[in-house]
């Protein structure tokens, strides 16, 4: 279910790494929690983010939730498609619905993150 090559945070973001480029989104678990996503607020390109700094906000009809950056770096691309099709986040959270791409400053940040298997265990933990 959760892509093996992704890293996950306790706040339910995911990171996919390609060299020093990191793609960030929210996990399937997170979108389920949010329910129907109706609005996404994206950062400006070029903005520098530290670990756990706010990337933007995702709003469902009932809830607002912030997306935190799993790693530090500079925003090099945002998924403008989400402005007009926020529901993509419910439909394809691990794929089309990526939120930002970062140029990583410190790959060491990844050490603090979970791999898919650990994340699933972590979710089971939440269930009980």
């Amino acid at each position: 279910m959760y892509p093996q090559n992704y890293y996950f945070t306790k706040d339910h973001e995911w990171v996919a790494v390609d060299g020093d480029k990191a793609t960030v989104g929210i996990s399937d678990f997170a979108q389920k929690q949010l329910g129907d996503v109706v609005y996404v607020e994206l950062p400006e390109i070029g903005k520098h983010l530290d670990v756990h700094q706010t990337v933007g906000t995702i709003e469902s009809v009932k809830a607002v939730s912030e997306v935190f950056s799993p790693v530090s770096g500079e925003v090099i691309e945002t998924n403008a498609a989400l402005n007009n099709a926020p529901e993509t986040i419910n439909q394809d959270p691990h794929g089309k619905a990526w939120i930002i791409k970062l140029k990583m400053k410190n790959p060491g940040d990844l050490k603090a993150l979970m791999k898919a298997a650990d994340y699933e265990k972590f979710l089971e933990g939440l269930a009980h």
Partner: protein
């Protein structure tokens, strides 16, 4: 946590459950927007068993209801329902409620789940010398709401009550799926539809039968989430957001439930004065002109200066935009008036628009 008598049904449907005023309630099933639109375009079924029911009985029942309600219950004949408020002596809301005239000596008050105990205590405190018996029957009642244009085709095969001839805001006793019920042509969605009350201790069949009949007609179970967006699109007030013990029916634009001519009632003199002196603020509908979603308690700015908070605000699944209700200074309540709402770090443009946002056309 209290369970409604339909809890098993919600679990079976895999509803997302939350605690709501001490009740284990479904907030959504398949998804808020889908549920919202199903109710707008076909029909929705709501478990609203958490609502409060209070019996007012005895020979002074009418006189007592007249005392606690600003609306004129004397106009009700048996079988009719009336929307009104439960007011403090200051004319502000303790709650809003429906008054069912079952008989001139038997009235049923339906109040909000969040306020049931407070309301009952308040009603009791008003008993005084009235020859009435007050009974908080909330836990004995279960209640379903079947709302939407398909409500009659879905419900009629299940009941001996003739639905089509019923006027809105009337009710009848009858059997639904073999269970003794009160079938009331009322609702909280802006759609046509029915609220079904039963004292049956095992009413599960009601839910199952209605779902079975309704599913082919597009019926969906609807959770508390969509219930709120549906009511807001129709500008039906929610206690705690739009009305509370600081607001009066006049301010929230419900002057029509205040019948000064009927004689005295709780809060009357204050309301008379407020009417004479004129309102300083009023509840109006707005929509955002820019991106974003205005939510309750977000700060409001008029001419750049802070002017209170958003009362109700949400994303409208039907209109796909951000709508809401807000108290504005009377001068600023003119349609089209622009103001700002603080959403996190920015101020977003909003404008006063006509309400209700949604009005059914059938």
């Amino acid at each position: 946590m209290k369970l409604t008598r339909f809890n098993a049904q919600h679990r079976k449907l895999g509803a997302k459950m939350i605690e709501f005023c001490g009740w284990d309630m479904p907030v959504e099933y398949k998804g808020l927007i889908e549920e919202h639109l199903a109710c707008r375009h076909a029909a929705g079924l709501f478990d609203v068993s958490h609502m409060g029911e209070i019996h007012v009985t005895g020979k002074d029942a009418l006189a007592f209801v007249q005392h606690i309600s600003p609306n004129d219950a004397a106009r009700l004949s048996p079988g009719q329902v009336q929307y009104t408020g439960l007011l403090t002596s200051k004319g502000t809301y303790v709650d809003d409620m429906l008054v069912y005239c079952v008989h001139p000596e038997f009235y049923l008050l339906v109040v909000n789940a969040a306020n049931t105990d407070k309301d009952f205590a308040y009603v009791v405190s008003q008993k005084g010398a009235y020859a009435v018996h007050l009974d908080n029957a909330s836990d004995r009642y279960s209640q379903l709401a079947l709302q939407g244009r398909q409500a009659i085709p879905i419900l009629q095969p299940l009941t001996d009550v003739k639905l089509a001839p019923m006027h809105s805001f009337t009710f009848a006793f009858g059997k639904v799926a073999g269970k003794e019920c009160i079938v009331s042509r009322t609702g909280y969605t802006g759609e046509d539809g029915f609220e079904i009350y039963t004292l049956d201790q095992d009413p599960g069949i009601l839910w199952d039968a209605i779902m079975e009949k309704g599913t082919p007609l597009g019926l969906q179970p609807v959770g508390l989430g969509a219930r709120d967006t549906l009511r807001l699109e129709s500008k039906l007030p929610l206690y705690g957001n739009d009305i509370d013990d600081t607001t009066t029916p006049l301010e929230c634009d419900f002057a029509w439930i205040v019948k000064f001519k009927k004689g005295d009632f709780l809060g009357r003199d204050v309301l008379v004065r407020q009417k004479e002196q004129g309102l300083t603020r009023k509840l109006v509908g707005f929509e955002l002109r820019d991106k974003g979603i205005a939510r309750p308690h977000y700060p409001v700015f008029v001419d750049g200066k802070p002017a209170g908070q958003v009362a109700s605000g949400t994303y409208s699944p039907l209109f796909k935009k951000s709508i809401g209700l807000v108290y504005l200074p009377i001068a600023k309540t003119v349609l089209g008036t622009e103001f700002e709402i603080g959403i996190r770090d920015k101020k977003v443009k909003a404008a006063v628009v006509p309400t209700p946002f949604y009005k059914r056309n059938y």
